[in-house]
């Protein structure tokens, strides 16, 4: 059998890209059927197939790297570029919502009473739960860095402790934010204040959930001895993503919660 004369990874034929595309079709058309005809079946099929594709595709990447050894330094470099570019695209995504917030809040219209927060809106106290949430995410940034150093120093017990703490802090943030959403005196329908607040913080919350899940998968892999002190890019990617989520929160807190109150 001929061996390759390069350090790149030529992957096995895989069904996940096209199944993933089909899952996206089902999810989007499912949303339409649910909104307009109150029929949730297509949407459920879409979400289910999306989850199945994600699980199997990433499972295969773990197989190709940890079990088959295909992730050479060259391949890892490409993955690093990929993760950086992805996070950059997410930064631009959030930039749009910050733009919308400043557009409406820097020059409040007469319909809002010419002020920000608009007349009748009682904003959340930034020194209350939002400040706690800030502390939680900052602390989780410290614990994930602690976990990284423990991995690099081959300290298994501390790495597991630190990463577990990070995941728990992420869940704690999500739980507190969910409670805040429930208890908030204003809703998404309350003028452009509600729109900008819930869309920006809502997408952030979704990213916290995604980041926590990514870190949790890394925790499972850490326990199963997948990472070595020199090679643990999956963990690094999760840590980068987590720091990004933390930074977005800091901007949200300073602009929407604090300046905007």
């Amino acid at each position: 059998m001929a061996h390759q004369a390069h350090s790149y990874h030529m992957v096995d034929p895989s069904p996940w890209p096209i199944f993933g595309a089909a899952a996206a079709l089902l999810t989007t058309s499912g949303l339409t059927m649910w909104f307009h005809y109150n029929a949730p079946y297509l949407l459920i099929m879409g979400l289910l197939s999306t989850a199945l594709v994600m699980f199997q595709w990433w499972r295969d990447i773990v197989r190709e790297s940890t079990f088959q050894g295909h992730h050479t330094p060259t391949v890892q470099k490409g993955l690093r570029y990929g993760m950086v570019l992805f996070i950059t695209s997410e930064a631009f995504f959030f930039l749009g919502f910050f733009w919308a917030f400043f557009h409406s809040s820097l020059a409040p219209t007469p319909e809002l009473g010419g002020q920000w927060p608009p007349v009748g809106i009682k904003p959340l106290n930034p020194m209350d739960v939002p400040l706690l949430n800030t502390a939680i995410l900052l602390a989780s940034g410290v614990t994930v860095t602690w976990a990284h150093h423990s991995i690099m120093e081959a300290n298994r017990k501390q790495a597991i402790q630190a990463l577990t703490l990070t995941v728990l802090l992420g869940f704690y943030f999500t739980a507190l934010q969910a409670m805040e959403y429930y208890e908030a005196p204003f809703s998404i329908a309350d003028s452009v204040y509600g729109s900008t607040f819930f869309v920006a913080t809502g997408f952030h919350g979704l990213h916290v959930i995604i980041g926590s899940t990514f870190l949790f998968v890394c925790l499972l892999r850490l326990i199963k001895y997948h990472f070595t002190p020199k090679h643990h890019f999956g963990f690094e990617a999760a840590a980068w993503y987590w720091h990004f989520v933390d930074v977005v929160w800091l901007f949200l807190y300073m602009t929407i919660y604090w300046w905007g109150s």
Partner: protein, 90 residues
């Protein structure tokens, strides 16, 4: 498909607490023992199977379920869109 050593040059070292010399035998590692070398053998078998089916039955089950859901769903989607595009008869 080169770069597939049977005994990988970068075999993951069992990560134990290394702060002080330990007299614990390897099998008593913290939170389960290292099964990665065994899994490496399984996934590097020369059986011609692609990575998404390499484990046999459980992989096939999951693959077929996903295929049924996506292909069946796509057909359902096309039917639903066809029906939805019919003019409403008032």
């Amino acid at each position: 498909q080169g770069l597939k050593p049977l005994v990988p040059t970068e075999s993951p070292a069992p990560i134990f607490v290394t702060s002080k010399p330990s007299h614990l035998p390897a099998a008593e590692a913290f939170l389960g023992k290292n099964k990665v070398p065994d899994l490496q053998k399984v996934f590097q078998r020369s059986d011609g199977l692609p990575v998404h089916l390499k484990r046999g039955v459980p992989d096939r089950l999951l693959y077929r379920t996903t295929m049924a859901l996506t292909i069946g769903g796509t057909i359902y989607c096309l039917v639903a869109l066809y029906i939805a595009s019919q003019p409403k008869n008032k």
